[in-house]
Symmetry: C2
Subunit: 206 residues, 2 copies
């Protein structure tokens, strides 16, 4: 294999092993030895491809952020022409198995828990959040709702909070329930733009 292809391959291999290990053991028990074993490589290799453990972690977060960004931007781009459809796509996207699974949510929260003390984590998370909120705000503005910025903030925050609920209380909050929560809010706020969920409509009394 070409040498620069290997270089990229190894980096991804190590990053994915890191995600695995964080999901399995958490941040505080993460060891480079285990990352190496998981990646099926030898002990010293992390420090050949990354300057340090911290650098590996930063690269791992950057990888996750990039993947998530591509994902929701793709969903928005693919969604039907009007703003409400694009907002719906953002919401539905956040509760698809691909991102709202136990492993991924676990790792996101692990990183968020450490963000405060790592400026590089922080800025990358900040950029992602701002971008998501800003796109959402523009879409809500296109619907002509008042205070689109506030609504976008709440919309974005609700997903993050529901992910926490899925983590902490998986029995009572699964993907589908979480999705219905957000839909209930959107439908309640802007019924002319967001239809009631089928499931919701059947339980709703008024």
């Amino acid at each position: 294999m070409a040498r620069d292809a290997i270089k990229e391959l190894r980096r991804v291999q190590l990053i994915e092993a890191t995600i695995d290990c964080v999901a399995r053991k958490g941040f505080s028990e993460l060891t480079l030895a285990e990352v190496a074993v998981t990646a099926k490589l030898s002990t010293g290799i992390v420090n050949f491809y990354f300057k340090s453990k911290d650098a590996l972690l930063a690269a791992t977060l950057a990888h996750m952020v990039e993947e998530y960004r591509r994902y929701w931007r793709g969903n928005v781009a693919a969604a039907g022409p009007d703003a409400a459809d694009k907002i719906t796509a953002m919401l539905e996207g956040d509760f698809q198995r691909l991102v709202a699974n136990r492993k991924t949510v676990t790792v996101w929260y692990a990183f968020w828990g450490e963000t405060r003390w790592r400026p590089d984590f922080m800025s990358v998370c900040q950029d992602l959040n701002r971008e998501f909120q800003s796109v959402a705000a523009d879409l809500f503005a296109a619907l002509g709702v008042p205070d689109p910025t506030l609504i976008a903030k709440g919309f974005s925050a609700m997903s993050d909070g529901l992910w926490l609920d899925m983590l902490i209380n998986p029995k009572e909050t699964d993907r589908e329930t979480a999705r219905r929560v957000v839909r209930a809010f959107l439908h309640g706020l802007f019924p002319q733009h967001f239809a009631a969920d089928a499931a919701e409509a059947s339980t709703s009394a008024a």
Copy 2:
């Protein structure tokens, strides 16, 4: 001082030092030596009052949970007779300086980031969340809104998510903004029960 009074004093002293240290350095750089110094006690003492580092952390989380529980329960009890007032009290409480300050929110997220791998963290967080959501659901039900459980879940999740936003993006999301976000949702959903914010009304066009 009486011996059992000392015992309780030391435990609290160590727990508060732990909160301080977590806020200052984060979970992954927390050392018992630093906790001891912060508490103005000697190195070995943590293992006299707590079985292990893990036990200290569990006790610290339990302490925070208990404090927060007392806080919001007190707010609900003190709030005016009808359900909407009590819900408002829950919301306002979540964005008072006492709990929604940088240090406290930082420490909550640090714990949530580790929760996944510590069953004792998990169950205590789960109980708290369930309790909060269940009280909120009863209050929404008393207002006669459809799907009170879903609404309560979203209401609770929004606070947690906004706390994350305050952490990650403090420039754009402060306590006051976060409070207004939740109020905007409640007012938009149930205008007959929740008045518009003064600030919100002035920027709202429709």
